[in-house]
């Protein structure tokens, strides 16, 4: 069994390069999804906190629906559903036969929408934790809404939101494994291919677990460092 370990290396017989490329794809899909989720989360948190009634209702329905559907079904809907729509639309323009769509894009959008529902709650909670006095002071001081967001809201809400955002990021990485069903060659798919062609499923699926553990631990460390730095700048202000 130990001879098989060279198969994980970067040599001529090794799967190292393929696994490394796949791992970067996993990080890329997760990062795109997380960024999309952050944008959606910010908008929905705003809508829920101080948006007009129809938008608030919309944000609530979005949250309930996305948190009530299995992640796998959301990805199926975007990938196979997207293909169905693309094929129908292409048919109207005289193109016949199925149209392929990108697994990367469908996956990133699907996970982004799931992540957005979670990030909405994280950001909303972080905003509500801001002491109202500072907001009143900013208003009385004559700050514009944008200045207030930049100088009062964001610096106070972000440190509170970081642990929650870290959780959402970790979920996005794990959900990205489901994108393998679209045929996108990310970590999950690559270890599956390797396991099949070498007939060493234990070796490669275990290696896959290790790759995910490395990605989640390293990025968790980044979040915790950011949290520590953000909190450090707040400490003296609180003590004063």
């Amino acid at each position: 069994m130990w001879d098989d370990l060279t198969l994980l290396g970067f040599g001529a017989m090794g799967w190292g390069h393929a696994l490394f490329t796949a791992a970067t794809t996993t990080v890329a899909v997760s990062a795109c999804a997380f960024a999309l989720g952050l944008a959606i989360g910010t908008l929905c948190a705003w809508a829920k906190l101080s948006g007009p009634a129809p938008l608030r209702r919309l944000a609530e329905v979005y949250g309930v629906v996305l948190r009530g559907i299995p992640d796998l079904l959301v990805i199926y809907l975007f990938y196979f559903g997207g293909r169905q729509v693309a094929t129908t639309v292409a048919g109207l323009f005289g193109h016949h036969g199925p149209v392929e769509i990108s697994g990367f894009a469908a996956g990133a959008i699907a996970i982004g929408l799931i992540s957005g529902a979670g990030q909405t709650e994280v950001l909303r909670g972080a905003y509500q934790a801001i002491s109202p006095g500072t907001l009143e002071a900013a208003k009385v001081g004559g700050m514009t809404r944008w200045t207030m967001f930049r100088r009062i809201i964001a610096p106070q809400a972000l440190p509170t939101a970081l642990p929650g955002l870290n959780n959402q990021w970790q979920s996005a990485i794990k959900e990205s494994a489901l994108v393998s069903v679209t045929g996108l060659v990310e970590t999950m798919r690559e270890v599956g291919i390797a396991a099949g062609s070498t007939e060493l499923p234990f070796l490669f699926y275990a290696a896959g677990i290790v790759i995910y553990l490395i990605i989640t631990s390293l990025s968790g460390l980044v979040f915790r460092t950011a949290e520590w730095r953000a909190m450090r700048s707040q400490m003296p202000a609180r003590a004063r």
């Binding site: 199926y76 809907l77 699926y205």
Partner: protein, 233 residues
């Protein structure tokens, strides 16, 4: 979208509902037992606590789909497993999927239980000691009720999470609601209608569970019957 197709679709998909519910209930039960064992291990010794920590790190840091594939495909690599008595079980996709779901659920649930057990304030425990409660009575009347109430919201999310996670069992050929939906799509090519209908089924289930847990939370809240009102009655 034709209505006949949809009307025929709903009973087809619902035929996978028993398997979905069965997987959810069994994985929560099995996961709960393992989670309790993990907490016992954690309380037992420092080595035990490290083992429990590593278990949680392993199962929370990697995707459930990969865990299912590892348990389903990996034993076949070793001839000593293929020739042992467990092989007839480990060959079954149902057993593998359920095992993966249980082990995964245990990692999350053990953390929920751990947080719950820390919910009892020091004052309450001291009061129980001073009041002459035996350790067992203390556990039964002070620590566990507080832990249960504290853990309930997080556990509610875990229940719905497992309900949704059972859909992954479909990738190892199990015919739960998602498995039937996938099979239906490969026959009819109507991905949107079929997957949306399946999504609605899950949405209804999740909403029902969420509502039930919220009712239970309200019922168990101390504000429901204030102490003063109770003593007055």
């Amino acid at each position: 979208m034709d209505i006949h197709f949809l009307l025929g679709l709903i009973p087809t998909l619902l035929s996978g509902l028993p398997l979905t519910l069965e997987l959810t209930v069994f994985s929560l039960l099995g996961g709960g037992v393992i989670a309790l064992l993990l907490n016992g291990l954690r309380a037992g010794s420092i080595v035990g606590a490290r083992v429990a920590d590593f278990y949680v790190f392993l199962f929370r840091g990697s995707p459930l789909l990969l865990q299912i594939f590892l348990i389903y495909y990996a034993p076949g690599q070793f001839s000593f497993i293929r020739h042992s008595f467990v092989w007839p079980f480990l060959r079954e996709p149902y057993v593998c999927a359920l095992l993966a779901l249980m082990l995964n659920d245990a990692a999350y649930t053990s953390e929920i239980i751990r947080a719950g057990l820390r919910a009892a304030p020091r004052g309450a425990i001291e009061a129980a000691v001073v009041g002459g409660m035996s350790p067992l009575t203390r556990l039964r009347r002070v620590i566990l009720p507080l832990a249960f109430r504290q853990a309930l919201p997080a556990y509610g999310i875990e229940i719905t999470g497992m309900l949704k996670s059972t859909s992954l069992a479909s990738v190892v050929t199990l015919m739960d609601v998602t498995g039937i939906a996938s099979a239906e799509v490969s026959q009819t090519y109507r991905a949107i209608e079929v997957f949306l209908t399946a999504a609605v089924i899950y949405l209804v289930l999740v909403t029902l569970v969420t509502y039930g847990v919220q009712r239970l939370e309200g019922w168990l809240s101390p504000t429901r019957t204030p102490l003063s009102a109770r003593s007055a009655a």
